[in-house]
């Protein structure tokens, strides 16, 4: 009897095992359909409306769904034609006249005209009905009026010159949208559909899961920065959200997806050794991590404390520890490859030298207390830092904390979930904060964070310096490149001298892809990995 029972047991186990594994014998892991490319990313966008979203996850898709008037080359400073094949700027720098391509159509076949430019830019800056509030409307410049002076000619008139206009128009906020589709979909524009002029058209979107786009078959007006001007080689692109980093790494190696920029730096060396994986790194990538000080708060209002912090933190060691060496240690607030970077201010940023920091603090009257924290006039050298909870910030904060402690400065750390952090970072509760941000040039980087009118956020440093404001305004107006470089250099030097911002690292952009696809080149405009996707091709 027992034997029968045991046989039944073993038989049951075998049957169960077969039931589970049977499909494996019939089909292996998923293979990708021919002429489809699958991108992987970490998170999804809230929506795909260029005038309502500022998410990177939105930008990388929107730049494929529609076009901008001008395009940005891979050097991140040369502006090339886009939907505008040429343009002129008036002598006073206030009026740009764009001459549009004549053969452009939206995905639904409707011809693209100057009226579409007028509508799209006006929607971006909140001048359409119903009004749309774009958090980055300021990037369109001080617009006086956008006019269609012909079916394919647009005048973009400003209240004052805005030297950054063309780079700003190359960003995804400046893409063209179809008025009829916007009005038909209302609040669901960019949620249920989109009609753009881009190389790919809206397929379908399953939020937090998948976005599918299909080739725009008549597309022939791709930017000259790419080899292929259209139509795209690939019929279908699928953007899949894979939140787990290890799953993304494994999926790329297993060929279950083709392209991603969202591989943690700790895996980069390993991935580069995998023969079936390719990588493309953008040297002109401007996305920096920094520690900002509120310059009007006790302790950190003292430039000596801020300079000592620069000397106490080993930024080389920090980039090695936090980004596995795949970020560059920073000095000046501007990346050396960015437009209007000033080399002299780099030299003004203090070097890592804890001994010199201790001496400087001693000389400034900050005496070492019994608990290892310095004191001056009854004030302990202690400050509170806020940040967003993530592994990078946490590890950076630990290293900064340790470095500061060695020179007698205490940094208290409080991290918040991203949902909470932005609200807390807009307050005056803290003394310093850690954050990262993208930019396209020195003027772009500094206008936002250092103008006094942007206090308390995004000018969280409470930096209030009339000279900086004047220089920034001149730089923003700067139609003369030489003068713009001159005034932005002055700001960089002022900031290097006053040290209100400890730039920690310049992150790198690397896009990994499988051998199955060709034409992957990291771009990096506003963090976008692959620009437009026209050169992508399935080769295996």
């Amino acid at each position: 009897m027992i034997k029968t029972w045991r046989r039944a047991t073993l038989g049951g186990l075998a049957a169960l095992g077969l039931a589970i594994t049977a499909p494996l014998f019939e089909a292996g892991a998923q293979t990708q359909p021919r002429n489809q490319i699958t991108f992987m990313r970490e998170i999804d966008s809230d929506r795909y409306d260029p005038h309502r979203s500022t998410a990177l996850a939105g930008g990388e898709i929107i730049q494929m769904l529609s076009d901008t008037l001008v395009s940005m080359d891979f050097d991140m400073r040369t502006i090339r034609p886009g939907l505008a094949e040429r343009w002129e700027v008036s002598p006073d720098g206030k009026t740009y006249t764009f001459h549009l391509r004549t053969n452009v159509t939206f995905c639904d076949g409707k011809p693209f005209t100057a009226e579409d430019v007028v509508y799209s830019i006006n929607r971006w800056i909140g001048r359409t009905t119903p009004r749309v509030v774009s958090p980055v409307a300021w990037r369109a410049g001080p617009v006086k009026e956008i006019r269609a002076t012909g079916p394919h000619t647009v005048e973009y008139e400003l209240n004052e010159p805005f030297g950054e206009l063309l780079p700003q128009l190359s960003q995804y906020f400046g893409v063209m949208v179809d008025r009829a589709t916007v009005e038909r979909l209302g609040d669901n524009f960019g949620v249920q559909g989109f009609n753009g002029t881009g190389p790919y058209c809206w397929g379908n979107w399953t939020p937090r899961s998948e976005f599918v786009m299909t080739r725009h078959p008549t597309y022939r007006w791709g930017p000259p920065v790419l080899q292929n001007q259209g139509p795209a080689h690939v019929e279908r692109i699928v953007w899949r959200v894979i939140p787990e980093a290890a799953a993304r790494v494994a999926a790329l190696q297993a060929g279950q997806a083709d392209i991603t920029q969202f591989i943690p730096e700790a895996f980069w060396d390993t991935m580069r050794r995998v023969p079936t994986i390719r990588s493309s790194t953008q040297p002109n990538y401007f996305w920096d991590v920094f520690l900002g000080f509120k310059v009007d708060k006790p302790v950190v209002s003292d430039p000596v404390i801020r300079r000592a912090a620069h000397m106490a933190v080993d930024r080389v060691g920090l980039t090695r520890a936090v980004w596995s060496g795949h970020a560059l240690p920073a000095r000046n607030i501007i990346n050396p490859n960015a437009l209007d970077y000033d080399a002299q201010s780099d030299a003004m940023v203090p070097n890592h030298d804890p001994a010199a920091a201790r001496r400087m603090l001693d000389e400034a009257g900050w005496r070492m207390g019994s608990d290892g924290v310095r004191v001056k006039d009854g004030q302990r050298a202690s400050f509170l830092m806020y940040g967003i909870t993530n592994l990078t910030n946490q590890r950076s904060a630990e290293i900064i904390q340790q470095g500061l402690r060695q020179v007698g400065i205490e940094m208290r750390v409080q991290m918040f979930d991203a949902t909470v952090a932005w609200g807390r970072l807009a307050t005056q509760e803290f003394d310093a904060y850690i954050l990262s941000y993208p930019y396209i040039s020195a003027t772009d980087a500094m206008s936002l964070y250092w103008h006094s009118r942007n206090r308390p956020s995004p000018n969280r440093m409470n930096w209030n310096d009339p000279e900086t404001d004047a220089w920034l305004e001149e730089a923003r107006r700067g139609t003369d490149p030489a003068r713009r470089a001159e005034v932005t250099a002055l700001i960089q030097r002022r900031l290097a001298e006053q040290a209100p911002w400890l730039t920690l690292a310049r992150t790198q952009l690397t896009v990994f892809s499988t051998q199955r696809v060709d034409g992957v080149r990291a771009h990096g405009l506003y963090g976008i990995g692959v620009y437009r996707g026209l050169d992508l091709r399935v080769v295996r």
Binding site: P207, S209, I242, V420
Partner: protein, 313 residues
């Protein structure tokens, strides 16, 4: 029986109301401002204020709560403040994959757990019993995310046998079946241990009961004694445990859905909470809680079916 069912349903209603209330209040207590989340890091205070007004978040809390209850009474869970999609539509799209995942996980783990528990009880004290119990303890101890990553690494990546990057299609298609195996094994894997252990304990108890001794004395085959007389009576506590564990399975589904990019309610809930999407978060909380309440209600009713003493009490 009917009276028992009505009583249990009656008790479930205040629980559901409590969940709604707590769900709403929790989202208010969280120091999150959806307007700042939506505006992004570069927005000025004026822009944030405009977005707050656009989302109706500048109204007092009691007004927001009143509107929330009124909408609920009409069966309207609201609209996502992030992407403007109706909450019911999003839930409708995600409940299916979650149910699919849970049923698939239960489909293999419950029979296997009961089976392993029964044979461990039958040969209690043997090496087989000890091995099964050791595996059960390991199953209980291994976190879902760890098991998921191990399966991804070996089965998905090293051996390249199965996909692991989302739902491959409907469950009746080959792509759908292949795509669900790893998530279902992960989610069900942690379920086997408790079921096996509870089954073993209950079967051991019933095997020494008088009615089993009588059955043996009557000369019934051992297979029938175990299956019909011991296991059937042992199932009551096992069903209770399964009911309770399904609640934990919902929690496990959140993790599993995240690891395997499974487009279910759990992932929707995490996404909604992280993006401060109040209506969506509240909607998912309602659905998950409702699921938990319904499962417990079903267990209560099933318990009464299996054990007449319960409905007589």
């Amino acid at each position: 029986m009917l009276r028992h069912a009505v009583q249990r349903i009656g008790l479930a209603i205040p629980v559901l109301f409590g969940v709604l209330l707590i769900g709403f209040l929790l989202m208010q207590v969280v120091p999150t401002d959806p307007a700042t989340v939506r505006a992004g890091p570069q927005a000025t205070a004026e822009v944030i204020a405009e977005i707050r007004a656009e989302l109706g978040l500048d109204a007092p809390i009691y007004v927001q709560f009143g509107k929330y209850l009124w909408r609920l009474a009409q069966g309207d869970l609201g609209v996502s403040i992030i992407n403007n999609v109706a909450v019911t539509e999003e839930l409708g799209n995600t409940i299916g994959p979650t149910l699919e995942l849970m049923v698939s996980a239960l489909f293999w783990s419950i029979p296997l757990g009961i089976f392993l528990g029964t044979i461990a009880a039958y040969w209690r004290g043997s090496l087989l019993d000890k091995a099964i119990m050791a595996v059960s303890v390991a199953g209980v101890s291994v976190p879902v995310f760890f098991l998921g990553l191990v399966l991804i690494w070996f089965v998905g990546f090293q051996w390249q046998l199965l996909p692991f990057t989302g739902r491959g299609g409907p469950l009746w298609s080959m792509d759908g079946i292949l795509a669900i195996i790893l998530p279902a094994v992960t989610l069900g894997g942690v379920f086997i241990g408790p079921v096996a252990r509870m089954t073993r304990t209950a079967v051991v108890d019933t095997l020494s009961a008088e009615h089993v001794r009588t059955a043996r004395a009557k000369g019934l085959p051992e297979r029938l004694v175990v299956l019909r007389h011991a296991l059937r009576n042992a199932l009551i506590p096992v069903i209770t445990l399964i009911g309770l564990q399904i609640g934990f399975l919902l929690g496990g589904a959140v993790v599993t859905e995240t690891i395997f990019s499974w487009p279910g309610v759990g992932r929707l809930a995490v996404g909604a909470i992280l993006s401060a999407d109040f209506p969506m978060a509240q909607g998912t909380i309602i659905v998950l809680s409702l699921g938990f309440i319904l499962v417990n209600l079903a267990v209560d009713l099933l318990y009464a079916v299996l054990d007449p003493r319960v409905r007589q009490a």
